[in-house]
């Protein structure tokens, strides 16, 4: 009995727990219905809690201050509703009424918020599908990233309710800020425009999601791509494969060893897990009292179109994609695209994890309009056919009703993003994001003078105090620097360069820019004449790796000795450190026999010793060795010793005759001496090159020249100048052409029969006519000026007469008027007089000029010259 009772108790406890759990999780659809058994006390408690909670209500409930939006400039469609839109609103209202009647315990639907002109607009018509002209914005991920970068997030005025206003995307883009609904509307418009099956969702999200708080997320840039563990497939042992030698070690000992290893590993694993848990604990935030009630909007992309294999969510605020199973999404009220509006009829007790996004299923999704292209209920093929028939019948029946009504076109103007905006991306070209232990800063290209476009700072702790490492991305650098990785803990700096550095530098790892310190330089070896891949330096050594050289050099290691003190006489020269030991290794030269092909040679310069090691023949395990020693050059009698057998110690795997000869050894040694000199020179050159590269890098670091693409018409000053010059030239050319078309001889030539050659007398007459005409015009002009002059003077005289007659009776105002008139008239008369004089002066000159021009005119010159 005791046991039984316990069991019952356990069950009850489990039930209670379950209930508690359920009440914790909010289910938007049935949350109020389920909680009817709430006691009065609990309600009061909640009320208290709610009143204690501070909801950050901004001073202005609107997301935008009113004055920033200039309504007057907006087109008519923003300010009024078309009849069709009115009808749509009625339909929506009707739907809303029915809905609230049927589901009185659910939140009212988000159907027609006000736009920036305070006009109610249906949400679907706010979506304006637009395909952006930038290829970068063709895919959903870049689209989402753009929207999240471009706009600044403003929290909802009331976190528990959808906003009262929903602005058009054009306005949002202009202001560059908006709430989550603005974000998702814009993103949805762009995604539908590029062919995705995308929907805006009105639902509930977690605190993090609603506030775009990424501090609990791992920065996507810090996540290392998982290395694929390639399993090498062992080929099956061949028929005659030799058996391995018998293993004589103790199996028992091995097992013991393995066990111990296993224990150690388990211990480590445990420690690690504990540490992880602790970390998780630390990062976990306190439970949100409004969990499940925070209204949020995001975007749903259904599978099918644009080769999307699986349905997923995009949070437009952060631009990240989530699986529908994600814990951040707590429920869906409704969703819509530019054609229709669906209300979720499914229970969200398990967040969005169990939701079925089959919008054709009327049980799960209540649609508002019976659109023609609404997604069908996905069933098996046969059923589908039947259903379609039924559907058609139904649709036919309903067509008479008001529901055979499709969505009015969007009232929003086309979404436009200028190339400048697209390039600048973030508001003012700068954006800062906080992730878990990481801070990401973004800049627009060319905003920073040193070309910095992105900086990722990784911290050791959650409070962003101890910097672990910094990664900086650069663009358009003159020195092709692409990424700088600074490790604060080790002090190591790694620079990555794009191809195109003058010295073909690829990676530069260093601690300080001082020469002769620890550094590693890697190069693009194909771009280098000497095939250098890598150069490692420590304070007194230098190691170089080569590839693909005609002399098969693969490796050179130089140990430097202390610098020799030089006389101040030639202090202008660089003072290279003397190499003490040079080791060079070579690849196999296939043209030489292996035992004649040097594999490694060591020059010990201080000891005057040269060591050679040859390559190993394919059927040997030992290789030839030779050591040359150059000691005293004078023997006991004072004669010069050229070569003695003990100056060359050699070991030969297969002794050869000719190598025993002193002559051969002597010649080899002489050759090696020469090569030693060359190697020393190489070492010196390498040092110089390092210095040169360092100098170049430093110069670049100071100067920050950014390269500008020749296609960048906006920034490229040179091309701009050139283009403007070209335009100017074009313009002038145009003007000249216009002038050329104005032919002063045309009216006279028109009198003559066209196409015939001019006779001399005709040319003469033409000239005379032209000149007389011009003379007439000059006289006319002079007469005109004269006439005006006379008219002015007459008027002035009249006025003066009138003034003298009525001088006594005039008021001071009239007198003033008269005086001002007089001065003006005098001025006019003077001007006319000047013009007349000038005309008189210029007229003969002009006349002569025309005569000259006529003489030179190609059409008349020949005929007139003979005469003249």
């Amino acid at each position: 009995m005791e046991v039984l009772r316990e069991k019952v108790e356990e069950e009850e406890a489990a039930e209670r727990e379950e209930a508690a759990e359920r009440s914790e999780k909010m289910r938007p659809a049935e949350v109020w219905k389920e909680e009817t058994p709430m006691t009065q006390e609990m309600l009061r408690d909640l009320e208290k809690k709610l009143s204690e909670m501070e909801i950050p209500t901004p001073a202005d409930p609107l997301t935008f201050p009113k004055d920033t939006i200039d309504i007057s400039m907006l087109p008519q469609s923003y300010k009024t509703n078309s009849p069709k839109e009115e009808l749509m609103l009625q339909v929506a209202d009707n739907f809303s009424r029915q809905y609230s009647h049927l589901c009185p315990d659910r939140m009212p639907l988000f159907l027609h918020p006000l736009n920036e002109c305070e006009v109610p607009k249906f949400v679907s018509t706010t979506i304006r599908p637009t395909l952006m002209p930038y290829p970068d914005l063709y895919n959903w991920d870049s689209c989402a990233q753009f929207v999240s970068d471009f706009l600044t997030m403003v929290p909802l005025p009331d976190p528990l309710k959808p906003p009262a206003h929903l602005y058009s995307s054009t306005t949002v883009l202009k202001c560059q800020k908006g709430n989550c609904f603005d974000f998702s509307t814009l993103l949805c418009s762009m995604l539908i425009g590029s062919g995705y099956d995308a929907y805006c969702i009105n639902g509930y999200g977690s605190w993090d999601l609603c506030h775009m708080d990424l501090t609990r997320e791992v920065c996507p840039l810090t996540v290392k791509p998982k290395e694929k563990v390639k399993k090498e497939e062992k080929p099956p042992p061949k028929k005659y494969a030799i058996k391995p030698p018998r293993d004589l070690t103790s199996r028992f000992e091995q097992e013991q060893e393995a066990k111990r290893q296993e224990e150690i590993r388990a211990h480590e694993e445990k420690l690690r897990r504990e540490a992880e848990e602790r970390l998780l604990e630390a990062t976990k935030m306190k439970p949100d009292p409004l969990h499940g009630l925070r209204v949020h909007s995001w975007v749903l992309v259904l599978s099918g179109k644009r080769e999307v294999p699986e349905t997923f969510f995009i949070d437009a605020l952060s631009g990240r994609s989530y699986s529908p199973q994600d814990d951040h999404f707590l429920g869906i009220e409704s969703l819509w695209n530019h054609k229709n509006y669906w209300v979720n009829m499914q229970d969200c007790w398990n967040y969005c994890k169990d939701l079925v996004f089959d919008l054709g299923d009327p049980v799960r999704w209540e649609y508002m309009l019976l659109g023609t292209d609404k997604p069908y209920l996905s069933l098996t093929e046969e059923d589908d056919d039947d259903l379609n028939d039924e559907d058609d019948v139904e649709a036919l029946g309903k067509e008479d009703e008001d529901k055979s009504f499709d969505m009015p076109p969007s009232w929003v103007q086309q979404i436009e993003i200028t190339p400048e905006e697209f390039e600048t991306r973030c508001p003012n070209g700068k954006k800062v994001l906080h992730y878990q232990r990481a801070q990401l800063e973004k800049w627009a290209p060319y905003l920073n003078p040193n070309g910095l476009v992105c900086r990722l700072t990784t911290y050791e702790d959650l409070e962003y105090t101890k910097v672990l490492e910094i990664k900086e991305w650069y663009q358009n650098r003159g020195d092709m620097l692409e990424l700088r990785h600074i490790n604060k803990s080790t002090g190591l700096i790694i620079d990555y360069f794009k191809p195109g550095h003058p010295q073909a530098l690829r990676v530069h790892t260093y601690k300080s820019m001082e020469p002769e310190m620890d550094r590693v330089m890697e190069f693009y070896e194909v771009a280098r004449v000497d095939g250098l891949i890598k150069r490692e330096e420590t304070p007194n050594t230098m190691t170089e790796y080569y590839q693909g050289r005609p002399d098969f050099l693969a490796y050179r290691h130089i140990i430097f000795g202390p610098r020799v003190k030089k006389l101040p006489l030639n202090s202008t020269d660089s003072n290279p450190r003397p190499p003490v030991k040079i080791t060079e290794r070579f690849y196999r030269n296939p043209e030489k026999p292996a035992d004649d092909d040097v594999a490694e040679r060591v020059f010990l310069t201080t000891e005057e010793r040269i060591q050679l090691r040859y390559h190993c023949r394919s059927d040997h395990i030992t290789s030839n060795k030779r050591e040359f020693l150059r000691r005293t050059e004078v023997d006991s009698k004072g004669n010069k010793i050229i070569m003695t057998p003990d100056m060359c110690i050699s070991f030969e795997v297969e002794p050869m005759e000719h190598t025993k000869k002193l002559l051969y050894q002597y010649e080899t040694m002489m050759q090696l001496k020469n090569e030693e000199k060359l190697s020393k020179h190489q070492a010196w050159e390498s040092e110089l090159e390092v210095l040169e590269i360092l100098k170049l890098l430093e110069e670049e670091e100071e100067a920050h020249t950014l390269t500008i693409s020749i296609y960048d018409t906006k920034r490229n000053e040179k091309s701009k100048e050139y283009r403007e010059a070209m335009e100017r030239v074009m313009h002038e050319e145009h003007l000249r052409q216009m002038e050329a078309q104005l032919d002063y001889l045309a009216p006279f030539l028109a009198q003559l029969p066209p196409g015939e050659k001019l006779m001399r007398w005709q040319a003469m007459r033409l000239k005379d006519e032209c000149l007389s005409d011009f003379k007439q015009r000059l006289i006319d002009k002079a007469n005109l000026i004269q006439a005006r002059f006379e008219k002015e003077t007459q008027e002035l005289q009249k006025k003066q007469q009138w003034y003298q007659e009525n001088q006594v009776a005039l008021s001071p105002e009239d007198e003033d008027l008269y005086l001002s008139y007089c001065s003006q008239a005098m001025f006019r008369i003077r001007i006319l007089e000047q013009r007349l004089n000038r005309h008189k002066e210029l007229a003969p000159l002009k006349y002569l000029a025309l005569e000259e021009k006529l003489h030179k005119d190609p059409r008349l010159a020949e005929l007139l010259k003979v005469f003249g």
């Binding site: 061949k238 028929k239 005659y240 494969a241 030799i242 058996k243 030698p245 190993c616 059927d619 040997h620 395990i621 030992t622 050229i642 070569m643 110690i649 070991f651 795997v653 000719h658 000869k661 002193l662 002559l663 002597y666 010649e667």
Partner: protein
């Protein structure tokens, strides 16, 4: 051309003359002193100049094995001889001599530059071996026939030719002819050939050249065909079934069979032989195909074996090399410490340690080698078993097929005998209406003769079949034994070489250490 004889006695190319020449032309300065100290071996000489020596006969050059350049100009040489050993010769100058015919150059396959200027040569030939020839100088000779040019077409590398001063050079068409027939030539008589002139010449001689080309092509095709056929036969021989892919064996049975030929005149025998032949050929074909298949199998087996052995050896060598590299690194460090050490006792101790290290290395290397020997032996034995089994199976099957052939022959023999006896009876009765040749008729004198004749034919046939079978079996067996022997021998050789190598290395190391030991107290 006509240089004075007797102004000086003809000289003989003796040792002294050569030594003087070598000494004079050897290295200079310091190296020269060394050379004098040591003496120069003739076989190390690369270049030799022997001009204006009044040499009559080329002789005593056999020691100059590595000679690259030989100048014998301005002598009175009459025959090209004694150059057979100079196979590395690249440059040969025999100008201004009295040579009458080109000869004795058949071994000089590396020759690139040959000068026979100012001699008495009247015909270009005997140059077939000189496939790398690039420069040929034959000026001031007595070449009179234009057809000599065509001979030069076979030298694909020939770029420079001089023929001026020959009778043919006076011909009107001389240059054009050469341009046309030697299109790859770049220099003729010390002048670069003009492209335009070459085109003209080609146009002029187009027809004859086309014809020549056509003939050459045909020749080449024929040669290629011949080559292909030979290859095929070689392949079949490798499979031990050559000439079994047709009626060859059957035909050979009747070649020596006089009686068989006679008997085929008998009525009905023709058809009988025809049917017999068909069946026999089918059996032959079966053997042939089976043989090829088996050959492939054997080849695959051998390839896998070789591959595995090679891999094993490579792996073992790699291990050995690693061990040696590791040892050398440590050894070098030890030697350095010994050199720096001053305390004698310590030195002794260190040297002892080094010596031990060397012994240790020796042991390791030898163990590796022994291990490899054991592993290889196992693999070789397995391979031997398998290959012998394969061969055995092959022989067995071939024998059974051959037995089928023999059965056919027996069957045929019975039929033939029957016909023969019938015919005999008919002849006896005088019923034979067909007229037979006289010698065939002679067989039908009595029963014994005809039976003997038929029997003889049968015996010959059987003998042929047996011979073929025997040949196949012996050859395949001997191949197998040879193969296995060779594998064993190679392995033993390899082992010897490796052991020798290891010993040599260890000895060297040890002696180096000993030298250090000896040298140190003196310092």
């Amino acid at each position: 051309m006509n240089r004075m004889y007797g102004s000086m006695e003809p000289r003989v190319m003796d040792d002294d003359m050569l030594k003087v020449a070598v000494g004079e032309q050897g290295p200079r300065e310091e190296a020269g002193q060394l050379a004098k100290q040591e003496g120069i071996l003739f076989k190390d000489v690369l270049s030799l100049q022997l001009d204006f020596q009044n040499i009559l006969r080329i002789d005593n050059l056999w020691q100059f094995e590595n000679l690259r350049k030989l100048q014998l100009d301005n002598n009175i040489i009459e025959r090209i001889e004694g150059l057979e050993n100079l196979i590395h010769l690249v440059w040969l100058d025999l100008s201004f001599n009295n040579i009458e015919a080109i000869e004795g150059l058949d071994t000089l396959v590396n020759l690139e530059d040959l000068s026979l200027f100012n001699n008495r040569i009247s015909k270009i030939d005997s140059l077939d071996a000189l496939v790398k020839l690039q420069v040929l100088s034959l000026g001031n000779n007595q070449i009179g026939n234009m057809m000599n040019i065509i001979y030069l077409r076979k030298f694909k590398c020939l770029r420079t030719l001089s023929l001026s001063g020959n009778p043919i050079a006076e011909a009107e068409d001389y240059k054009m002819f050469i341009y046309a027939y030697l299109p790859d030539l770049v220099y003729l008589d010390f002048r670069r050939i003009d492209e335009h002139a070459k085109e003209l010449a080609e146009m002029k001689h187009q027809y004859s050249i086309d014809e020549l080309k056509h003939r050459e092509n045909q020749m080449q095709i024929r040669q290629e065909e011949e080559q292909a056929r030979r290859m095929k036969l070689e392949e079949h021989k490798m499979a031990f079934v050559e000439h079994l892919d047709g009626s060859y064996l059957f035909d050979s049975m009747y070649v020596e069979d006089v009686e068989g030929g006679k008997l085929s005149y008998l009525p009905g025998v023709g058809e009988l032989v025809g049917a017999y032949k068909d069946k026999f050929v089918i059996i032959c074909l079966n053997i042939f195909e089976y043989g090829l298949k088996q050959q492939e199998k054997r080849k695959a087996e051998l390839d896998t074996f070789n591959e595995c052995i090679h891999e094993a050896i490579q792996e073992n060598q790699e291990q050995g090399r690693l061990k040696i590299a590791k040892f050398e690194e440590e050894h070098l460090m030890n030697l350095n410490t010994i050199r720096e050490e001053t305390d004698l006792l310590n030195i002794e101790k260190k040297i002892m340690e080094c010596s031990e290290d060397i012994t240790e290395l020796f042991n390791v290397l030898m163990t590796l080698e022994m291990q490899l020997v054991e592993q290889l032996e196992e693999a070789i034995n397995m391979f031997e078993r398998n290959i012998i089994d394969l061969v055995g199976l092959f022989i067995e099957n071939v024998q059974s097929l051959m037995a089928q052939g023999r059965d056919l022959e027996n069957h045929h023999h019975e039929k033939l005998l029957e016909i023969a006896i019938n015919t005999l009876e008919k002849t006896a009765k005088g019923e034979l209406d067909e007229d037979l040749p006289e010698d065939v008729r002679a067989l039908f004198v009595d029963k014994d003769t005809i039976v003997n004749a038929v029997g003889a034919s049968h015996d010959i046939h059987l003998l042929k079949i047996d011979n073929r079978e025997d040949e196949l079996v012996t050859r395949v067996n001997s191949w197998c034994t040879h193969l296995v022997d060779k594998i064993h021998r190679d392995e033993v050789m390899r082992n010897c070489k490796r052991v020798k190598e290891i010993n040599q290395y260890i000895d060297h190391m040890q002696s180096e250490l000993d030298n250090l030991e000896c040298g140190d107290p003196i310092d």
